[in-house]
């Protein structure tokens, strides 16, 4: 029975081992973040005189801003643009304290934040998507809200099918969910029964496979595998968004404390240039009209 005793010891160790794995990943992540932070701060102190720019804020804008910064740095060797995440509120805070020269926000500024300069660099639309075979074409925003509240649970009143609706949402903390919460739900809670996925891609994947599903994703990521619904009779087209007829749109804002100058100004002008606005378009965002960046003073 000696050998069995040893095995039993193994059994005791095993779950601890797997726990160690998952949390050492977490620790590694944390270390990486700390290291990254440690690298960022000296880098902006060592390069005075407008050769380095810190852009921080919305995690929804961050991946796009990363690309823009890359192109910018390619064109201007010697200039440094550090793009950091943290979220819209953190970006606003960073601009206030001067930790970043440009803040990024993917939500409209609140009244007490309006002292900052804001420049719209792009728009991001949310599409409400269903399975391509779903006969439904249009919903009102109130209907969308009721579905995601869990008040409407079957398709019966919407398209006649006596089937239960599969509601698919993003996880807490994601920018897309934040935008949906703000634009559609207001203060109400999304139903607990909703299926939760951690990327736009998996939400689209599930909706494209489940005939009874409904979900929301970034407008730029809609493809032929799903159907984007019209809202209040307005289809999510670029035109409707620019005319502000389609309601589920959020701005991508760049914020500065003073009127942008130096490298910050150059970077913002660069993003508003035709070349980058074309890139914005290709990446699935909606470009702002050239020549008239919606600028507002304090």
């Amino acid at each position: 029975m000696e050998s069995e005793k040893i095995r039993l010891e193994d059994a005791k160790m095993r779950p601890q081992k797997s726990r160690k794995d998952s949390f050492s990943n977490l620790t590694a992540l944390m270390t990486a973040i700390l290291l990254a932070a440690a690298f960022f701060f000296p880098s902006c102190q060592h390069r005075p005189g407008g050769h380095s720019l810190v852009v921080a804020g919305s995690t929804s804008i961050q991946p796009f801003a990363d690309k823009w910064a890359e192109v910018f740095m390619e064109k201007r060797p010697g200039e440094m643009v550090d793009v950091q995440g943290g979220g819209s509120s953190a970006g606003i805070q960073a601009v206030r304290t001067g930790a970043a020269q440009i803040g990024m926000s993917s939500r409209e500024l609140k009244d007490d934040e309006k002292d900052l300069y804001q420049i719209e660099v792009a728009h991001d639309g949310l599409a409400i998507i269903v399975h391509p075979t779903n006969p439904l074409e249009n919903l009102t925003i109130e209907q969308v809200k009721s579905i995601f509240l869990g008040e409407i649970t079957t398709w019966e009143t919407l398209n006649g099918r006596k089937k239960e609706i599969t509601v698919v949402v993003r996880e807490e903390g994601s920018g897309t969910r934040g935008a949906f919460q703000e634009l559609v739900m207001g203060k109400s809670r999304i139903t607990k029964k909703a299926i939760v996925q951690d990327s736009n891609g998996t939400v689209r994947e599930i909706v494209s496979r489940d005939p009874q599903a409904i979900g929301f994703i970034s407008l730029g990521l809609v493809n032929e595998s799903v159907k984007a619904l019209a809202l209040n009779g307005v289809k999510p087209t670029e035109e409707a968004i620019l005319k502000k007829e389609y309601k589920l749109v959020r701005p991508f804002l760049f914020l500065t404390r003073e009127a942008p100058s130096g490298l910050a100004r150059e970077f913002i002008e660069f993003i508003l240039s035709e070349e980058i606005q074309d890139l914005v378009h290709k990446e699935g965002l909606i470009p702002v009209r050239r020549g008239e960046p919606a600028e507002s003073g304090r």
Binding site: E4, R14, Q16, S18, S24, E172, G175, R189
Partner: protein, 286 residues
């Protein structure tokens, strides 16, 4: 002290140091999780974490009960599927099959353990989930899907350890039983299995550990709704999924709440292990 004795002491000391360093990593991680996860639990109260049913971290609502129930349901479901299948395979391979067949099949089964969990999840998503959705209804992403996938994932562990412990039962036991007129099945049921019991239970504990800790495959097929599932066809979120799902953007109290999830998971695994070990210890005494 002779030179040999001194050498011996040196080796013992260095081995002790190495052993301690391995254990200290575990200790550091434990301290880290508790240090990060417990303050928020004190701030909002243990009750609201353990018994709260609403998980809306952005509104400071941190109820973990749906995830605790979810983890237990999925793990129990995995054992329900994995243990009978695994045990039956092990009994067949050791007692009823040709030796040569067992020699081929056992490595194949062990190979199953080497398949990355994301592959299990992907297969589940592509085949099992649509199957459940079409045949049984609901979204397909469900307790059932997660249980089946986890049940399959723990098979290699359960089977190979059960095989080892059944083989460890001395042949004289079997011979004695058969000499008394018992059939082969009676021998297995009444002599071999009781003798191999503690090893088999050890295998089940290992499988349970894998099931409760598995994250990737579960996230892919479980649907992750933070709600206590009303049926086995409803989506479910486990404690591990909760951490992995929301880690990316969590900050401030949300992040602390994810660490608190880790603390609860830690405690649950401790409790389950202790229960399992106590049961097998008692079995052995019999």
């Amino acid at each position: 002290m002779t030179k040999l004795e001194r050498n011996d002491r040196l080796v013992r000391l260095s081995l002790l140091m190495i052993a301690l360093s391995a254990i200290s990593v575990l200790a550091i991680i434990t301290v880290f999780i508790f240090e990060q996860g417990t303050p928020i639990m004190f701030r909002y109260g243990f009750r609201s974490f353990l018994l709260g049913q609403d998980w809306y971290p952005s509104e400071k609502s941190f109820g973990l009960l749906p995830m605790i129930v979810g983890s237990l349901m999925v793990t129990f479901g995995a054992l329900l599927i994995g243990v009978p299948l695994g045990l039956a395979s092990a009994i067949f391979l050791t007692e009823f099959s040709h030796r040569r067949l067992a020699r081929i099949l056992k490595p194949v089964i062990e190979l199953l353990a080497g398949i990355p969990s994301v592959v299990y999840g992907f297969i589940g998503l592509m085949f099992l989930v649509p199957f459940i959705r079409d045949k049984f209804g609901g979204p397909g992403l469900s307790v059932l899907a997660a249980s089946v996938i986890l049940g399959i994932m723990i098979l290699p562990t359960v089977i190979s350890i059960a095989i080892d412990s059944i083989r460890a039962v001395p042949d004289s036991y079997r011979e004695g039983s058969i000499a008394l007129g018992a059939t082969r099945w009676q021998t297995v049921r009444m002599v071999v299995l009781p003798a191999a019991r503690s090893g088999i239970i050890a295998g089940i504990i290992l499988g349970m550990g894998r099931a409760i800790g598995e994250t990737m495959a579960v996230i892919m097929v479980a649907g992750n709704a933070a709600d206590i599932p009303g049926s086995i066809l409803a989506p479910v979120r486990t404690l591990t999924s909760n951490i992995a799902l929301e880690m990316a953007y969590a900050s401030g109290e949300h992040r602390e709440a994810l660490f608190a999830t880790g603390v609860i998971l830690f405690i649950i695994i401790m409790i389950l292990n202790t229960i399992a070990n106590l049961t097998s210890a008692r079995q052995r005494k019999k």
